[in-house]
Point group: C2
Chain length 581, copies 2
C-alpha cells in the first residue's frame, strides 16, 4: 500500500475551509492542476522510497554522509520540477504561490516520505530568514540557489547543554576583520546537516559574539556555508549521526564548527538579534511540522483502511461468512477516528496558511495575529493526533502492525519526532496560552471563537437527522473553549501567572478539538449545500458523516478538558510531594 | 537509569487496595520479604539486560534460536531462585502463594525487562491449562518441569489466515493409534517458540481433528513438546523470526509442525473443547499482560523522573538560574500523569488478582465473576496507559527521547505490543461489554460500581482542602460509569446489540478511569488515616496528592466518554459513507 495524495479532499478543504475560492490569488483550476501534479510526484517518486529510507538510513563514513539509495535522484527530480520555491518571491526565482497551496504540497511530500520532506522544509525556513533579514550581498549569493533547491539549508540551534533553552548557547563568533566572522562551537540534532543530495549546505547558526549580553539577548545569527564562495571547503564537519527511533533516512548530525580555527560565516540581521530572526523562521516551520503531522496521519489512515478492507476476520452482524474487518464496529471506530482527526488537523493547518496569505492582503495585521494564534495549535494538535493516528494504524493491523514489514510501525516511529522538534508540544502550549491569547488584549482569540460560533449557528440551523447530535455538541465544545479561554486570560493577569501554564496543554487540545470540529462542520455544510444543488459525489455524504462522527465521538472530550484547565492546577502546590525523590 | 522495583508502593497497594492485610494467606512481613527479594532480582539481574536484549535481539541460524547475551544465564538464576512457580500447587512443586503476590512479581520482571518477562508468563499459562485440563499422565510428565521453569511453555493459536478469528484455524491432528496424535500445520507469532534458555519447550497447540465440526467448536488442544519423552527431537521447528518494532529479545517464531509427517502430541482436555481450555489459560494471561503494562509504565516513569530531576532548562517561576525541568508546570503535568496512570493501573490489576484469590475462598463464584469482569479492564486499560505513559516518557526527554541511547524510545516500542497480543484491546472491550456486563444479569457490574461508590462516599466524608475537587469528581465519574453501564446493558438486550459494541472501547476506558480513581482514593484514605495516626512517611502526602491529581486531571474525561458511549453510535449507519473506497 503506497501513499496517494488525497487531492480532491485537499481541494475541498482549501476551498471551503481555507477560502481558496474567494482569495483570487490562484484559480481553482490552477490549484487543482498543481496539486494533481504534486500528488503524482509524491505518490510515484517519494512514497516508494519511504521503506527503503527506513531500512538503509543515512550513513556517515569518513566525514561524508550518504543518503539511502534513490534519495539523491528523487531530490533532483523534486528540484527540477520547481517544487522547492513555491511560495518564494519571483524576484528570487520563486513561484509566488499562496501559502495554502504550499501547505497542501508540504502535506503531500511528508505524507509520502517524512524523512525526505524534512529537507525542503528546512530550506524553506532558511529562505525566509535570509529574505527577511539577510544583507543584499548575502541574498544575491545564496537566495537563488536555495529557492531553486540546488542548495539546501539547516537551522543550527541546539547544543548539548541547550535544548529548548537557547539562553544557554555557547557557540562563539568573532569578527575576522573582512566583514566575515569566525565561528567555533558544537551543535547537535542538525537535520540534514550533511548529505549528498546537493552541492552545498547553507547553515544558519546561532552563536554569541564576544562581550555579547548573556541570555537570549546576546545571540546572533550567522550564515555558514559548507562550501565557501571561492569553492573551498569551510571549516565545519558532521561529527556524528544520531541513532534514532524513526525518520532514519533523515541525517541528524552533530556538527563541529571551527576545528581548524574557525568556520567562516556572515551575520544575518543585526548583532544580538539572532533569536528574533530565527523565530520568524521557526514560526513558519512550525506550521510546516503541523503539516508533516497531517501527512503522516493521512498516510497511516490510508494504509490502515486498505488493510481493513482486505483482511477478513470474524463475522460482522448479519454476515454468514468472515467479513473484512472494516465491517466491525470497533474497527470502524478506529478508522473513523483516524480519518476525522486527520481531516480536522488538515483544516486547522490550511486555515493557518490562509491567515498567512490574508496577512499579505488588506486584512494585514489582524490576519497575521490570527496566524500567530493558530500556529501553535496547528503544530501541536496536528502532531499529537499524528502520533495517535499512527498508533491506531498499528492497532488496526493487529499483530501485523507490530512487525516492521507492513510499514504501520514505521509511521509510528517516524511520527514520534513531530511533537518534539521545532519546539516541543509543551512549548507550543505555553506559547499559545502565554503569548498568543494575550494578543490584542484577547481580541484575537475572541474573534476566532466568534468565527467558530458562526459555524455552529449555521450547523444548528441546518440541523437534521444526518447531523445527529453534532450541532449541539459543537456549540457545547465552543462554549467550553470560551470558558477555558476566559480562565486562562484571567490567570495570566493574576499574581500567579504560572497557574495558566499548568493548564496550557489541555487548553491547547481543547482549542484544537473545537477548531477542528468547526472546520469539519464547514465542510459538512458545504457538502450539504452541494447535495441540495444536485451534486451526486458520494464524498459529500462522507464528509457530513465524518463531521458528525467527530462531533459525537471526539469533541465530547472538550468539557472535561475545560474542567481540567479551570480546576486542575492544584498540582502546582502538590507536585513536590509526589515528584521529589 | 535502571529500573528499581517500587516495593513500598506495591506493598501499600497490596494492603490497601488488594486487601492483603485481611487475606491471611501470607503475612505482611513475608510478603514484604518476598517482594524485596524479587525486586533485587529484577533490578540487579533482569534490568541490566534490557538494552542488551533490544540491541542484539534473538537470532535464528540453522533452525536454532539464540537469545541475546546474558539471557540464558539470567533465566537460570530466575529458575534457581524458585520464582517460576509462585502460585502453582505445592503438589506440583509450586509455592502456593496468592495471586496478588505473583501479580507484584510479574510487574517487576516485566518492568525490568519486558522481553524476558514474557517467557515465564507464557509458561504460567501452560501450567494452568495443563493443571486444569491435562490427563494425570501428562501432568506427571510435564507439570513439575514447567513449574520449576526447567522447561518453558508456549501458546500456539495464531495462523496466517487466523489472527483473532480462531474459527479459521487449519492445523490438523490425527490419532496415531497409540494415544498420541500427529500434528501438521503452521503457526505464527509464537512467543518463545524456540530459544536456548531451557532444554525443552512445551507447545500447547490448537488444531482440528478430522471430521471435527467447523468453526470454534471443532478445535482441540494438544501438548507438543520440542523433545519427546524418549529424548528424540519432535517433528517441529522454528521456520522464521519476526522483525518487530519492539521486544527484540523475545523470539517471535513462525513454527512448522509436521514437515516430516507429523509432530507427536497429546490431547489436553476433551476433543473439540480446546478453545475452552485455551481460554482458561488466556484469561489469566490477560491479567499478566495488564501487569506487563504496569511494569513498563513504572519503568518509563522512573526513567523520565530521573531525567527531569537532572536536566536543567529554562527558569521556573521564582528561580534565578536554570531549573531542573521537573520544576516546570507542563513537565510536572506529564510526570504526574505518568505516575497517576501507573498507580491506577496497578490498583486495577492487583484488585483483579485479589478477586482471583478470593475465588478460592468462601466468596467463591462471586469473586471469580468479579475477576472475570475486571480482567479485560486490567488488560486493556493498563496496556493503553502503558503506551501513553511510554510516549510521555519520550516527550519528557525532548530530543534525547527520540535517540535510542536513553532507552525511552525502547520502552515505547516495547509497550506497543501490549495492546495487541493476548486479544487486542478492542477484543477486550467487546469482551467487557458483550460477555462480562451481562454476568448474573448485570449484578456483578452493579456490585462493582456500588463498591466504587462506597469509596467515593468515604472520600466525600473526608473532604478537606488537600483533596480539592477530588471527592466531587470521583462521584461524578462513577455516576458517568453507571449511566453508561445502563446504556450498554439496555443496548445488549435491544434488537440491535451491535450498538453496544460501537461504544465498547470508550466504555472500557471509562470503566478503567473510574475504577482507577477509586483505587487511588482508597490509597489516599489509607494514607490520610496513617498521617492522622502520627506516621511521618512523606509518601503519604504524595499518595493524597496523586489521587487528587488523577481525579482533577484525568478523571474528568469520564463524562465525555459516557456521552460517547450513549450517543456516539450513529456511525454504525454512516460508516459506509466514509469508509468505502
Amino acid at each position: 500500500m503506497s501513499y496517494r495524495a488525497p487531492v480532491s479532499e485537499m481541494m475541498f478543504t482549501l476551498r471551503h475551509v481555507a477560502g481558496l475560492d474567494g482569495a483570487g490569488a490562484v484559480s481553482v483550476e490552477d490549484a487543482d492542476a498543481i496539486l494533481t501534479e504534486a500528488g503524482r510526484l509524491a505518490g510515484d517518486v517519494l512514497a516508494p522510497l519511504n521503506r527503503v529510507g527506513d531500512r538503509h538510513g543515512a550513513t556517515l563514513s569518513n566525514g561524508v554522509v550518504t543518503m539511502a539509495p534513490g534519495f539523491a535522484a528523487a531530490y533532483k527530480t523534486f528540484v527540477a520540477g520547481g517544487w522547492n520555491g513555491l511560495t518564494a518571491d519571483p524576484d528570487h526565482g520563486g513561484q509566488g504561490l499562496p501559502q495554502v497551496l504550499d501547505a497542501a504540497c508540504t502535506e503531500m511530500w511528508n505524507g509520502a516520505n517524512l524523512a525526505f520532506g524534512l529537507c525542503p522544509l528546512l530550506t524553506a525556513g532558511g529562505i525566509e530568514a535570509l529574505a527577511a533579514h539577510g544583507s543584499e550581498d548575502l541574498k544575491a549569493r545564496y537566495l537563488g540557489k536555495l529557492v531553486s533547491g540546488e542548495w539546501t539549508a539547516t537551522m543550527n540551534l541546539t547544543e548539548p547543554q541547550a535544548g529548548s533553552d537557547l539562553a544557554a548557547l555557547r557557540t562563539r563568533a568573532e569578527p575576522a576583520g573582512d566583514g566575515s566572522y569566525r565561528i567555533v562551537g558544537s551543535k547537535i540534532y542538525i537535520t540534514y546537516g550533511a548529505h549528498d543530495m546537493a552541492d552545498n549546505v547553507v547553515h544558519l547558526v546561532l552563536a554569541r559574539l564576544k562581550d555579547a549580553p548573556s541570555g537570549t539577548r546576546g545571540i546572533s545569527l550567522f550564515l555558514v556555508p559548507k562550501v565557501l564562495p571561492d569553492g573551498s571547503e569551510n571549516d565545519l564537519r558532521c561529527s556524528g549521526l544520531e541513532h534514532k527511533l524513526g525518520i532514519h533516512a533523515s541525517p541528524t548530525c552533530s556538527m563541529a564548527f571551527g576545528d581548524r580555527g574557525g568556520a567562516t560565516g556572515w551575520l544575518v540581521g543585526e548583532e544580538n538579534r539572532g533569536l528574533a530572526c530565527m523565530f520568524t523562521m521557526m514560526n513558519n516551520a512550525r506550521l510546516g511540522v503541523g503539516l508533516q503531522g497531517v501527512g503522516v496521519a493521512e498516510a497511516a489512515t490510508q494504509r490502515a483502511l486498505a488493510y481493513a478492507r482486505e483482511r477478513r476476520q470474524g463475522k460482522a452482524a448479519g454476515s454468514a461468512e468472515a467479513s473484512p474487518i472494516v465491517a466491525h464496529p470497533d474497527v470502524q471506530r478506529m478508522l473513523l477516528t483516524m480519518k476525522a482527526y486527520t481531516a480536522a488537523a488538515r483544516g486547522i493547518c490550511y486555515l493557518t496558511a490562509a491567515a498567512l496569505d490574508a496577512a499579505e492582503g488588506p486584512e494585514g495585521k489582524a490576519a497575521l495575529d490570527r496566524a500567530s494564534l493558530l500556529t501553535p495549535v496547528a503544530k501541536a494538535f496536528s502532531t499529537d493526533i499524528a502520533n495517535e493516528v499512527a498508533s491506531l494504524g498499528v492497532q488496526v493491523h493487529g499483530g501485523m502492525g507490530f512487525v516492521e514489514e507492513t510499514g504501520a510501525a514505521q509511521a509510528m516511529r517516524d511520527a514520534r519526532i513531530l511533537g518534539i522538534y521545532e519546539g516541543t508540544n509543551g512549548i507550543q502550549a505555553i506559547d499559545l496560552t502565554g503569548r498568543k491569547l494575550p494578543l490584542n488584549d484577547g481580541a484575537t482569540v475572541r474573534a476566532q471563537i466568534a468565527a467558530m460560533r458562526r459555524v455552529a449557528e449555521s450547523l444548528l440551523k441546518a440541523a437534521d437527522s444526518d447531523l445527529g447530535h453534532a450541532p449541539a455538541r459543537l456549540r457545547a465544545g465552543i462554549e467550553a473553549l470560551d470558558q477555558a479561554t476566559s480562565h486562562q486570560l484571567a490567570s495570566l493577569r493574576s499574581n500567579r501567572p504560572e497557574a495558566a501554564l499548568a493548564g496550557a496543554t489541555p487548553y491547547l487540545r481543547l482549542f484544537g478539538l473545537a477548531q477542528g470540529a468547526a472546520c469539519l462542520a464547514r465542510e459538512a455544510l458545504a457538502s450539504r449545500a452541494a447535495l441540495k444543488a444536485g451534486e451526486t459525489d458520494p464524498a459529500h455524504a462522507g464528509r457530513i458523516a465524518l463531521a458528525r462522527f467527530f462531533a459525537e465521538n471526539l469533541l465530547p472530550a472538550t468539557e472535561g478538558l475545560a474542567q481540567v484547565v479551570i480546576d486542575g492546577g492544584g498540582f502546582l502546590d502538590d507536585a513536590g510531594a509526589v515528584l521529589t525523590g
